[in-house]
Assembly symmetry: C2
């Protein structure tokens, strides 16, 4: 299997065309291939040799794989893997421990505390989010005044948002019992914020705009803090309680950055929890030159970013840092008898089950630990800097070609938004249709895979939303030639539509 | 790494004593060992060779591992792994795809649909929980009247409970807008039900007994349906809405089974969602002789069990079956622009992001698929039957020894509850203390690891809760000699306390 993975990764790099980046199958096609390969239908009565099952399955599914690890994968957001991360995942599966409590595998908890502190220091996070010497050594919930901050690995930023929101709601309900909680984010925030509000019962559905205030953005697509202030004041005056504000550092759509100091100051005036979502861009703070995005973070209550997006750790690995871990654990803790044990009762340890939605948990710290140790700080910085450099290369290519328009970014990094230039006499809607047509043509070609979004302020002064293409650079194997080839392919396909 | 895992699994079986089953470290010890091994402190500037990092890390953490895969692991619940499952996890990490949408890797979704249908058929689940021919081939949310049931892999039963509760609440709020929802389970149900209610905002905390009615149990530790009926009637009369009833098939504490037909009938009278949690025991339904537990399941709205507990699939893999998938997806669906695509818009496919809390997801179907195909139905049945047989062996040993009392089970399987017999003149509390002392002595010995619980009706007629030890048999490598050795060890340690 290791050899098969190594060969697959090699093919992705050395044999362009062998694996179309976006799967070209139609619905049901994989099912048919599995049946044809003899691995469908009822579970066989007698087991079959693994090698036979594996070969049949791999043959059937590979055409149905969209290759997130391909160097031509520029869609959505990166999901990069690396050898040490995959080996860490394998070791975790082989050990097969459940780290729900410190006692159920102390190493699972203690390595996680260590690696999150190390990563936090590497990224220059405020000290209040770290366990520090005492906490990391094992001081738990009963650790007294010193037991404040800490961090935990979640599966995804969505789960981190749920955890933060549950804690925020508890704090709000203690401050203003009975009042209806309201959460805030920008119109460009990730859908997981609205989804978290639906799961938590704060919002009745995706359109419950009274419960989730999606604040309009300015020309940089950052949350308008004047409107945030106004919304919170209105809610407070009406007897509702401003519960949580999510600031996004690097939106999924277009890598916009909210003004964290201003957002946090506004939230602070209403006692609202400040959650900061930097799912992809946060990885860049391993480089000092990107720490500008963390300005104001010392005012936040929670912060998360995903090493599984852009820091060489395979999915899933979201790191959630909290300033007051008791706020999380008091909102999520239940202790049935069969989980009681001496170490937990003594308050001497951290029990991560109280930091997350599920009870059980995998030993995810291993893969993060292996990545930090084998790449080292310099290796990680070089990795980030190269992708940002490639973002610049691509932006220059767009800028130099009058057939295309570059969407202005105040803070360009590894995501470049662009679209075909409007033709004379073309309506905006017609340009949008052409942008999507171009996208489909490129993706069907199989050499590169990009996705689209709609955002405001594509043209200076125009706040109506327009369709743009997103060139998201962050795959482990992406090199300059892949970026240039993708650009050439985009140019070629433009002629077809 | 593969060789290291193989050697580790071999050591667990062939070298008892090399790895104490319950880790014997004290808080902070792993951190110190990591520091001594040179893999602590700041992230190194230069990366280091993987082999060096791995060796240092493995040496430091192994004493801090509680060995869930050891044949002497009889604590909590099983978390069994197997070679095909670990290889499936590895393949998933190597492919590194995110199956949030059908389009983001069609094979991830289609194999998951297939394997869940296969498993459902193997376990004799009601047809309404399966995709069936049409659905499995790709008919999605817009598939019309035929788009009813289906299944999804969740991380854990806790997450399945959250998903079911979110859907149940939506249904209840549509039926009785504005009424306060109430959820029901037995006093023996898993803590994840209360936790789900806290996350969903239905319960204000673990002690919010008005929101989560924990119904008392009968002498078999099954939910008293007369009390359930009464509680629901009271709530409905008071203007609250009975929202969801969770029936447990095999409680974590003592493997008690709720009377599902009676629970479902009571719930049905109030229109409440019926969720069925059979996290561990559900695996046994691969054998026809254990399908009695599924009686009444055709009346349920959702059902889950965890192949990661007792069906050879490494953590995490919970299978959630729902009768009406639109009830789930309508409660969890949000579609931002960057996730829109032709296949989803056509309703031709299943997009699993709308079936779960997170957006992203791993390709977990692979490990389940590999296990089903390589063990085959006969291999899986033999595995379950052997563990149940060993449960019988252990129960017989307890029964034959007057120093111990066997806790009566109406349905004995692989979990045996027992305790030291009360000594003449000993108070119940004193017996409880002695039971915990015995447990600590056994666990410190390192040859076996058991955990305790407190349950009512340990002695016929006595509904006060008493401490008992749990012998939970389900590790992949456990053989009869390990069970007999554990029993001998328990007998020896009883003399010490």
């Amino acid at each position: 299997m290791i050899e098969w993975i190594a060969a697959y990764w090699q093919q992705l790099q050395a044999e362009p065309g062998r694996h179309p980046v976006m799967s070209q199958v139609v619905p049901g096609q994989v099912r048919e291939a599995l049946a044809a390969a003899g691995v469908a239908g009822a579970v066989p009565e007698q087991g079959r040799p693994f090698a036979e099952v594996f070969e049949a399955t791999a043959g059937a599914i590979m055409p149905g794989i969209t290759h997130w690890q391909a160097p031509g994968f520029f869609a959505f957001f990166p999901a990069n893997a690396s050898p040490p991360a995959v080996l860490g995942e394998l070791m975790s599966a082989g050990l097969g421990v459940n780290g729900m409590l410190w006692a159920t595998s102390p190493a699972c908890t203690e390595l996680e505390q260590q690696v999150l502190d190390q990563l936090g220091e590497l990224c220059g996070l405020p000290e209040k989010f770290l366990f520090g010497e005492g906490g990391a050594g094992g001081v738990g919930e009963a650790g007294g005044a010193s037991a404040k901050g800490g961090a935990v690995i979640q599966g995804t930023a969505s789960e981190a948002a749920v955890v933060a929101m549950v804690a925020a709601r508890k704090r709000a309900s203690e401050r203003t019992p009975g009042a209806r909680p309201v959460v805030y984010c920008s119109s460009q925030a990730h859908s997981s914020i609205v989804k978290a509000a639906m799961i938590c019962g704060i919002a009745s559905g995706p359109e419950d705009h009274a419960a989730v205030r999606q604040i309009e953005v300015d020309a940089s697509r950052a949350m308008r803090t004047d409107l945030l202030e106004r919304a919170m004041a209105e809610d407070a005056a009406a007897g509702r309680v401003p519960c949580m504000v999510t600031a996004t550092l690097g939106t999924t759509s277009s890598l916009a950055f909210d003004d964290l100091p201003a957002v946090a100051a506004a939230a602070g005036r209403h006692g609202a929890w400040v959650h900061v979502d930097s799912a992809m861009a946060g990885a860049a703070t391993v480089c000092p030159e990107y720490r500008w995005m963390l300005r104001g973070l010392e005012l936040a209550d929670s912060y998360c970013f995903n090493p599984h997006k852009w820091l060489l750790v395979n999915f899933d690995c979201d790191c959630l840092y909290v300033a007051d871990r008791a706020a999380i654990t008091s909102a999520l803790s239940i202790t049935p008898e069969y989980l009681k044990n001496a170490a937990s009762a003594a308050g001497a340890v951290v029990d991560y089950r109280d930091w997350q939605v599920p009870l059980g948990r995998r030993f995810r710290a291993l893969k993060l630990h292996f990545v930090l140790q084998t790449y080292g700080a310099e290796g990680l910085r070089a990795y980030i800097r190269e992708h940002v450099r490639l973002g610049g290369v691509f932006a220059d290519l767009v800028r130099a070609d009058t057939r295309f328009e570059l969407v202005d970014h105040s803070r360009r990094m590894n995501l470049v938004c662009f679209r075909p230039s409007p033709r004379p006499g073309e309506t905006p809607a017609q340009t949008d249709v052409r942008a999507k047509g171009l996208l489909d043509a490129v993706n069907r070609g199989g050499a590169a895979y990009l996705t689209h979004t709609v955002i405001p302020f594509v043209t200076p002064g125009d706040a109506s939303v327009r369709t743009v293409l997103r060139m998201s650079i962050g795959s482990t194997f992406t090199q300059e030639r892949h970026v240039r080839e993708a650009w050439a392919e985009i140019g070629r396909r433009l002629g077809d539509i």
